[in-house]
């Protein structure tokens, strides 16, 4: 359980984290999602005491992080997989962690096996590791002390598709056993697939939070449809009170697919394609964080068939 309450961090006049509150609960994977520079890392750094908060508080398992004795045994942390001494071997990095936490060296071998770093790889120096290998090492380090809470900043960064699937399974299983997982990412699809709950942050503020269903609840839906007679279908939809617009080879209608199907049925038009046209979470994410994106019009670029 991680409880963040009214957390604010200001650097001069700039609020990197602005009145952020959320809870990451046991047995669930909580995804912390936002564009680069939204305040995800700063929030996580404050959680583990590396950065002091300007105001507000964070409790991990009911305690301020600094009050957790031998914190590595309770909270697994991975903030930056590349923040390791380049001249140390992977095995040595884990050995230092294990020694600090008072764990036997055999735990190092267990963790290396868990993240599939081979004996030879573990004896190589971190400077020769790929980002994916550093990420695996970092996850191994976070899991060393058999913690009940995991705080991972961009853990999937640099992992190949197989690695991302592996991590998804690992963290999912961890949460199923009652662990609390908070992981950040700027990649929506990655989080969408693994997280039970999502916290969307943009420019230091939380813009939305909840599970996927509740996030999308109340969102205007859209449908992409094409038929053997688009003109007739368009007219039928207009009669039904919707405003179809040409999109690619068909029409885009601001309503649910079922309504389009009903209109087609009544008009006796044969449909050749019918699907949901809303970008779902991605649209929501981009809209909510639009003013914090670096690109000009990210929403327009993702709308399907917007070229017509």
């Amino acid at each position: 359980m991680i409880t963040v309450e009214h957390l604010t961090k200001k650097y001069g006049g700039f609020a990197a984290v602005d009145d952020v509150s959320f809870t990451a609960r046991p047995g669930r994977v909580t995804g912390f999602l936002g564009p680069n520079g939204a305040g995800k890392t700063t929030t996580m750094r404050i959680m583990v005491g590396l950065t002091p908060a300007t105001s507000g508080s964070v409790r991990v398992g009911g305690l301020p992080y600094a009050d957790i004795p031998n914190p590595g045994r309770h909270v697994g942390v991975l903030l930056d997989a590349s923040a390791q001494h380049a001249g140390r071997t992977g095995r040595e990095v884990l050995t230092i962690g294990a020694r600090t936490m008072g764990l036997p060296d055999s735990r190092v071998d267990e963790m290396l096996e868990l993240v599939s770093l081979s004996g030879t790889e573990s004896k190589r120096r971190v400077r020769n590791y790929s980002l994916g290998m550093r990420q695996r090492l970092g996850i191994a380090h976070a899991l060393l002390g058999d913690p009940s809470v995991l705080i991972l900043d961009e853990p999937a960064n640099g992992l190949d598709p197989a690695g991302i699937r592996w991590m998804r399974g690992l963290l999912g299983g961890y949460a199923d056993r009652g662990g609390t997982v908070l992981l950040s990412s700027h990649l929506l699809h990655e989080v969408e697939m693994i997280a039970d709950e999502m916290i969307l942050i943009g420019r230091g503020r939380i813009v939305a939070q909840g599970d996927k269903k509740s996030l999308l609840a109340g969102r205007a839906s859209a449908t992409l449809v094409s038929s053997e007679d688009d003109a007739a279908l368009g007219a039928a939809l207009a009669r039904a009170g919707y405003e179809p617009t040409p999109a690619g080879e068909g029409l885009r209608v601001p309503c649910a697919p079922a309504e389009v199907g009903r209109a087609a049925l009544q008009a006796g038009v044969v449909l050749t394609d019918l699907r949901s046209g809303s970008g779902g979470l991605e649209d929501l994410f981009l809209e909510l964080t639009e003013d914090t994106q670096r690109e000009g019009h990210p929403v327009a670029a993702t709308h399907q068939g917007a070229t017509a």
């Binding site: 046991p26 309770h74 390791q84 001249g87 230092i96």
Partner: protein, 271 residues
């Protein structure tokens, strides 16, 4: 079927399962932190080779000295002075690296997460540095034995030289390295600063002193290296004025940087 149309918004009361039971977890003992810091000082190629190089350099310089020094200047007291001087130049660099690698190599992210009480980490590092320094001082004394054997085997040694010139000077070096490391928190900058401080500054002060009489009087009060010359004088206890100069310049160059560096390190954000 449960209805969960209202999304979880983090307002749920904490469940007992979400509370950490820390009753069975003692804090990380200080001795363990010290042993980990010692390990970290020597577990990289850089750390090991640098330490080995210091010893090798001591040996080379001492052997050369044993053969090249004039007759009568190769007793154990002379040779240990040479060995200690070589060590004194490089030991602080070892201490600097122990502190700065946490920032330059960014390992502080892990170190300060596993032990969030930074004061304990700094303390452990300092003790580890003292242990490592003591071990190297012992090795330097052994190296001097080799040099003395080569130079004729005169074992005379005054307590003054041993304590002041060898032990105290190297202890000051350890403190200096630690202070500069904490103050700058960057390996390259700290090492360069250290060598400017020990090599360039005394020369600059010497030149200024040669031209300005008032500065020559002032120099021992404000320049630590000049004041430390006291330590290397063989005869008896230094005068009260010399000790006062040592204290004043030591406060300026050692105590103040040490305290400011410590405060800076305890507050800095490891990036």
């Amino acid at each position: 079927m449960s209805t969960d149309t209202t999304g979880p918004t983090g307002t749920t009361a904490p469940t007992p399962a979400g509370v950490l039971d820390v009753s069975g977890t003692p804090a990380v003992p200080f001795t363990r932190l010290v042993s980990v810091e010692l390990r970290k000082a020597l577990d990289t190629r850089a750390g090991r080779w640098f330490t080995a190089s210091i010893v090798a350099l001591c040996l080379v310089v001492v052997v050369i000295y044993a053969f090249a020094a004039p007759e009568g200047a190769t007793d154990y007291g002379d040779v240990i002075g040479v060995s200690g001087a070589v060590l004194g130049y490089f030991l602080p660099v070892l201490l600097i690296l122990m502190v700065t690698s946490e920032w330059s190599q960014r390992t502080g992210l892990t170190t300060f997460t596993l032990e969030p009480h930074r004061g304990r980490v700094v303390g452990a590092k300092f003790v580890a540095g003292l242990i490592l320094g003591a071990a190297l001082i012992a090795v330097a004394a052994l190296v001097a034995v080799v040099g003395t054997l080569l130079g004729g085997g005169d074992w005379s040694l005054t307590a003054d030289i041993l304590v002041k010139g060898f032990l105290v000077a190297n202890l000051v070096g350890i403190l200096t390295g630690f202070a500069i490391g904490m103050l700058l928190m960057n390996s390259a900058a700290a090492i360069v600063t250290y060598f400017i401080y020990t090599l360039v500054l005394p020369i600059a002060v010497g030149i200024l002193s040669a031209f300005q009489e008032w500065f020559a009087d002032l120099a021992p009060w404000i320049e630590f290296n000049t004041a430390q010359g006291v330590l290397f004088q063989e005869e008896g206890a230094p005068s009260g004025e010399l000790v006062a100069q040592l204290l004043v310049s030591g406060t300026i160059w050692l105590v103040i940087p040490f305290v400011i560096g410590l405060l800076r390190l305890l507050r800095a954000e490891p990036k």
